[in-house]
């Protein structure tokens, strides 16, 4: 029997498949399509202190093997998430869930993360440090090891649950950012967030996205994500959640060999709403094909 279980910061997942934040809403849409309790867990839409409508539209552009988005963290704000979304979520999802947290200042991160940390169903806090730091000149927290250290250390103090830091790939040296997060006592690293890109509308001769640039996701990212997972695995000892273009069970195995303990699946959910279910169903057969008995054992196998 193929054993697909993995342990993520002390919590055992039935399988390593985790829908990525921003591509799975709060789970209900998908709960109509299949039993989402089959998932390892899922990471819900990025939550901020205040409610956000996000950016103007168009927010989506097609790319070769991927898409750009500039949704801009649309969410009802942490208070509404706690009062409205989590109670509804509880009805369709019985497992611990991953709370994805964003912010534009260290205080916002701390505020939002510490509120979500107290929610029973929240199993992990996933701190998305790719947002521009409004007090730091707009440069994203995740682009410098120093800023990353500061925000992670501040959140760490207020958060008891496992703290996973989600890194931006738009950096020269992702391993040093990961190492900074580890030294600020993060419990895990998740990567990669989207790669900054843009498209231009040839008819209007203007950028296609209202926000000019957007984040690239989808299979186009896969080789970049694998390289970064591999690099970060050599730089830290804490577990890694790998993501970026993962679309099938073979990609899951590849990301785990590169160093991931679990994986997140983003864009694939949008084009195939059954993507995560299909991947979970294909895992045992794929494991057999590559002679894997316990999936957890292959993490980092390519090093």
């Amino acid at each position: 029997m193929a054993d697909t279980r993995v342990a993520l910061c002390g919590i055992t997942l039935d399988n390593p498949v985790i829908p990525a934040s921003g591509t799975f809403g709060y789970g209900y849409e998908f709960a109509k399509f299949y039993d989402i309790n089959r998932l390892g867990t899922f990471s819900f839409k990025g939550t901020t202190k205040e409610p956000r409508f996000g950016n103007a539209t168009p927010r989506i552009a097609e790319c070769p093997s991927g898409l750009l988005n500039c949704v801009g963290l649309q969410n009802p704000g942490v208070n509404a998430v706690i009062s409205d979304e989590l109670p509804k979520l509880k009805k369709v999802f019985r497992k611990p869930v991953m709370a994805n947290v964003s912010g534009f200042s260290t205080e916002e991160y701390v505020y939002t993360a510490s509120l979500l940390d107290k929610e029973e169903q929240v199993g992990w806090i996933e701190l998305n440090i790719s947002c521009p730091n409004v007090h730091g000149g707009g440069m994203a927290f995740g682009t410098s090891p120093k800023m990353a250290y500061e925000v992670v250390a501040a959140v760490r103090k207020e958060v008891k649950k496992p703290l996973i830091v989600k890194l931006s790939p738009n950096v020269t040296d992702i391993a040093s950012v990961a190492a900074a997060c580890e030294s600020a006592d993060a419990d895990g690293i998740s990567l990669i967030n989207t790669v900054l890109g843009m498209r231009i509308n040839l008819k209007t001769r203007k950028p296609l996205l209202a926000n000019i640039t957007g984040g690239l996701s989808g299979p186009a990212l896969l080789p970049i994500a694998l390289r970064m997972i591999y690099q970060v695995y050599e730089a830290v000892k804490i577990p890694i959640i790998g993501m970026g273009g993962i679309s099938c069970a073979e990609d899951v195995v590849e990301a785990m060999l590169a160093g991931a303990t679990a994986v997140e699946i983003g864009a694939a959910n949008l084009v195939n709403p059954y993507a995560c279910r299909d991947i979970i169903e294909a895992l045992p057969e794929t494991m057999e094909k590559y002679k894997i008995n316990k999936l957890a054992e292959i993490t980092g196998g390519a090093h």
Partner: protein, 248 residues
């Protein structure tokens, strides 16, 4: 939403750059006018959303304009080709609000969903009028199909090459009063109709989509009832809730 495989039955040019494609497959549950399907095309990452134009016993009619690489590719699909569709997407039009004499207004590629709507309203015994607007005669389609439903059918062309010269709103003034408005077309047209009509109504919007079923927040718009997703809470909005973007 359901994922279903359809087979191309026919795919033909019916006006300049406009194609009618008929697909056979399981159409159960797809009768609500104003809903759309989201089509996976080989070689393209995102699906392409197209409104349901008509439904028969076992087939689905869509009408699409070639505006980019995806629709260009669609126009090359041959009979027998299998297509993966997400079906029954969007809220669709609420026909219970139509009153006795609804006016339907469609512009360009906004016309197709009004066909199933008109057919459904006629079946409910409503006295339906439709105005369709095009840039020019060669882009016009489905005039006869609408006429065959036995409804009053007006056409406006911007250059006057067919029917009334001008926009759909120019044709509206000649229509007299009506109980309700159903509109679909480019945003400037919807806006003009909004200001030109006294009656209440429902307007169908387009937005670039990531998923088409409510997961990604790619298609959000602001309404008086809060932010809504065009793909899931729309594409049809009530006239009363619409907030027009201040800048184009």
């Amino acid at each position: 939403m359901e994922e279903r495989i359809f087979t191309v039955k026919s795919n033909k040019l019916i006006a300049r750059d406009v194609y009618e494609i008929k697909l056979s497959g399981d159409i159960s549950g797809m009768q609500r006018p104003g809903q759309f399907v989201n089509i996976k095309l080989d070689g393209f990452y995102l699906r392409r959303p197209i409104s349901v134009c008509d439904i028969s016993a076992d087939s689905l009619t869509l009408i699409y304009k070639t505006v980019g690489n995806g629709t260009e590719y669609m126009s090359t699909l041959q009979e027998g080709k299998k297509l993966d569709l997400l079906t029954m997407l969007g809220n669709g039009y609420d026909i219970s609000k139509s009153g006795s004499s609804p006016l339907l207004i469609g512009g360009g590629c906004g016309v197709p969903p009004l066909y199933l709507l008109a057919k459904t309203l006629v079946a409910e015994g409503k006295s339906v009028t439709i105005i369709t607007g095009f840039n020019t005669k060669s882009e016009m389609f489905y005039k006869n199909e609408f006429k065959s439903l036995g409804i009053r059918t007006l056409v406006a062309t911007a250059d006057g090459s067919y029917g009334a010269k001008g926009f759909v709103t120019d044709a509206m003034v000649k229509c007299g009063d009506f109980s309700y408005t159903y509109a679909c077309g480019p945003e400037p047209m919807l806006k003009a109709v909004y200001y030109a009509s006294k009656a209440s109504g429902q307007y169908s919007f387009e937005e670039r989509m990531g998923c088409g079923f409510g997961a990604c927040m790619g298609c959000s718009c602001k309404t008086l009832y809060g932010s809504k997703r065009i793909c899931k809470d729309g594409p049809v909005l009530e006239k009363e809730e619409i907030i027009w973007p201040t800048q184009e």
